[in-house]
């Protein structure tokens, strides 16, 4: 039994192919203007890489902001449910998952059975999401990939309260002009996102263990700021999937559940 989970996010489309619960492959592509075409292409590439024909696929479940565009999916499920299903399979000890994507941050609380008991989504502000780091990386003229590592070299916490991304940019520019070391500014950027995310997560109620998912979880600087906020270590998935694939993985698992009569 082979199934597919697709997560059509604001920036990237992620695909996970599952056979009897085992991951065959994962694939990621930019979410283009034509979402259906992007999803189609991502699926085809993934299938090709493992040599599976399209008609072998028994069920496709879509999730993510653009899920309704994927007309070839058998059903859709919200990111909240997909994320919960994915993370709970990777880490059954998890009770809270914090998911930070390009434009949205979410916190989800699970019970002992992995069922969603509460969730929160950051409202109307991108300052608690990945796009924020990207904008700041540009203002600082630092490669996005280097942001995490550089922030670890910071020796000083600089408070930054800006909520609007663009205003945060000018706060960053002011800090540059004030000769604040870049490392400290980058840490301030990560602290600012982490503060917003933690605030929102506290509203949902943070219960241990806590896992991070979404692309921003690959940023060690952000993970570090989150750890500092919570005062304990967070789980970041590596195996069988990387953090950005958790919702797609969850969608695939839900597709499988469906076939199993769930």
């Amino acid at each position: 039994m082979t199934v597919i989970g697709i997560d059509l996010g604001a920036k990237n489309t992620k695909v996970v192919i599952l056979r009897e619960g085992e991951i065959l492959t994962t694939a990621s592509a930019l979410s283009g203007f034509d979402q259906k075409a992007s999803a189609d292409e991502a699926v085809n590439n993934a299938l090709k890489s493992v040599g599976i024909a399209r008609d072998e696929i028994k069920h496709i479940t879509a999730t993510g902001a653009g899920m309704d565009a994927i007309t070839f999916a058998n059903d859709t499920v919200t990111e909240i449910s997909a994320n919960a299903r994915g993370i709970f399979t990777v880490f059954p000890s998890v009770r809270t998952v914090i998911d930070v994507g390009a434009e949205e941050g979410r916190a989800i609380r699970l019970n002992d059975d992995g069922k969603v008991v509460d969730f929160g989504i950051n409202e109307k502000c991108a300052a608690g999401a990945g796009a924020f780091t990207e904008a700041m990386a540009r203002a600082l003229e630092v490669e996005l990939e280097k942001m995490g590592e550089m922030s670890l070299k910071s020796t000083k916490a600089v408070p930054m309260n800006a909520q609007c991304t663009i205003f945060a940019e000018s706060e960053v520019v002011s800090l540059i002009h004030q000769k604040t070391p870049k490392e400290d500014i980058i840490r301030a950027v990560h602290d600012a996102i982490a503060d917003r995310i933690t605030s929102m997560a506290r509203r949902v109620g943070i219960e241990k263990e806590v896992a991070l998912s979404g692309g921003v979880a690959n940023n060690i600087g952000f993970v570090n700021s989150m750890t500092r906020n919570l005062g304990y270590d967070l789980l970041v998935p590596r195996d069988p999937v990387m953090p950005e694939f958790i919702p797609a993985y969850g969608a695939a698992l839900l597709a499988q559940d469906k076939l199993n009569g769930g």
Partner: protein, 383 residues
């Protein structure tokens, strides 16, 4: 203005230290006196009754640090100040308090009190209903009854009665503090005020957290030396108007640009101490009268806007050239007064600059606005 950092010029260091080490001070005070400490949320709380009961009132203020603990308790549309205050409690910084109380004023700060009441255990908690219609003749008798009820509740808690003599002592202590601070403010009217706005802020804010007895002694020492102090030309003479404000970083930034705050309309400033309790046989009525008739918080200033005339009078007495109107983000009562105040000031030729404060202020961005504002006030050599 740049202060010459001579040892003898540091007249206000004690106030600054008190402000910065407020928690250590209160803990030491408890240790020393064995007395109780009450944290209060609004300057409508009648501190004279607390002093009469030998209780140290400490105003709960924020710490101006970003925080992530209040989101579950206070919806983000309420002002950053009330959230910052609650954060102090949730972080355990006021663990030494024996009780908390509030007098009814705006909705925002009320939430800091109620969430504190729900989640942070304390021995004593009191919500003092307080008239909003202070312009009504019924406000004083109503408040008097509320004060009597509050006094009873306090007596029950401390286990002994509060006598007339205690009340008299409490009122006199508060009055003396008010009188001394008014005397210091009086000196700010001089062409060269002997103190900066930052120093004045340390003085007033520390008075909200330090035993008035000690604060009074320090003020008396200060007043001996202050009249002869010379710190030079004040530059532009500014008034700062608005909600709660203990943002010392902002005041310092403005004064570093060469201007001086010569007075204010803040509840961490003149609104706190301008009026005294009139000596009277019926002290409870006199206390009620003092709080009903004081310069009001905008939440209580209706149907007439009495604060307008007050601000205009102050601006004249202190020879104000420019006004900075600040307000905690989302502070509805002040937002409802700002356009009227701005219009009135500008009518009288006083330029205004409006700024919205958050827990931390973006000094870089605000500096540009303040500099541009000062450039408006300065004719000098550019044209």
């Amino acid at each position: 203005m740049q202060l010459v950092q001579k040892e003898e010029n540091n007249f206000f260091n004690q106030f600054k230290d008190w402000y910065e080490d407020r928690h250590e001070y209160a803990k030491a005070w408890k240790e020393r006196t064995g007395g109780k400490v009450i944290g209060y949320f609004c300057t409508y709380v009648p501190e004279e009754i607390l002093y009469a009961a030998n209780i140290l009132p400490v105003r709960i203020l924020g710490s101006h640090e970003p925080q992530d603990v209040t989101e579950p308790h206070i919806f983000a549309m309420f002002c950053p100040f009330c959230r910052d205050c609650l954060a102090q409690g949730l972080k355990g910084r006021f663990d030494y308090l024996d009780g908390i109380m509030i007098a009814q004023s705006c909705l925002h700060i009320r939430q800091a009190y109620t969430s504190w009441d729900l989640h942070i255990p304390t021995d004593y908690s009191y919500y003092l209903p307080h008239p909003m219609h202070v312009q009504s003749p019924h406000a004083i008798p109503y408040l008097k009854d509320e004060l009597i009820q509050f006094k009873k509740s306090l007596e029950k808690w401390i286990g002994h009665p509060i006598t007339e003599k205690d009340l008299k002592n409490g009122s006199e202590l508060m009055n003396k503090n008010r009188r001394l601070m008014n005397q210091v403010y009086e000196l700010r009217k001089k062409p060269n005020p002997p103190l900066t706005g930052l120093e004045a802020m340390y003085m007033v804010v520390s008075s909200q957290m330090i035993d008035k007895e000690e604060h009074n002694s320090e003020l008396e020492v200060l007043l001996q030396k202050l009249p002869s102090r010379d710190i030079g030309d004040p530059g532009e003479r500014l008034i700062i108007i608005g909600s709660e404000d203990d943002d010392t970083k902002f005041i310092e930034m403005v004064e570093d640009l060469g201007a001086t705050f010569v007075t204010d309309d803040h509840c961490t400033g003149t609104r706190y101490f301008q009026e005294e309790v009139n000596p009277s046989e019926d002290l409870m009525t006199a206390i009620a009268e003092r709080y009903v008739k004081r310069v009001p918080c905008p939440s209580k200033d209706w149907p007439k806007r009495t604060r307008l005339d007050h601000i205009m009078r102050m601006s004249k007495e202190y020879s104000v050239q420019g006004a900075i109107l600040i307000q905690q983000k989302f502070c509805d009562p002040h937002e409802l007064d700002t356009p009227a105040i701005k219009e009135k000031l500008e009518d009288k030729g006083i330029s205004t600059l409006f700024l919205e404060f958050d827990v931390t202020v973006p000094i870089g961005q605000f500096k540009t606005r303040v500099e541009a504002f000062l450039e408006i006030l300065r004719e000098e050599d550019l044209f």
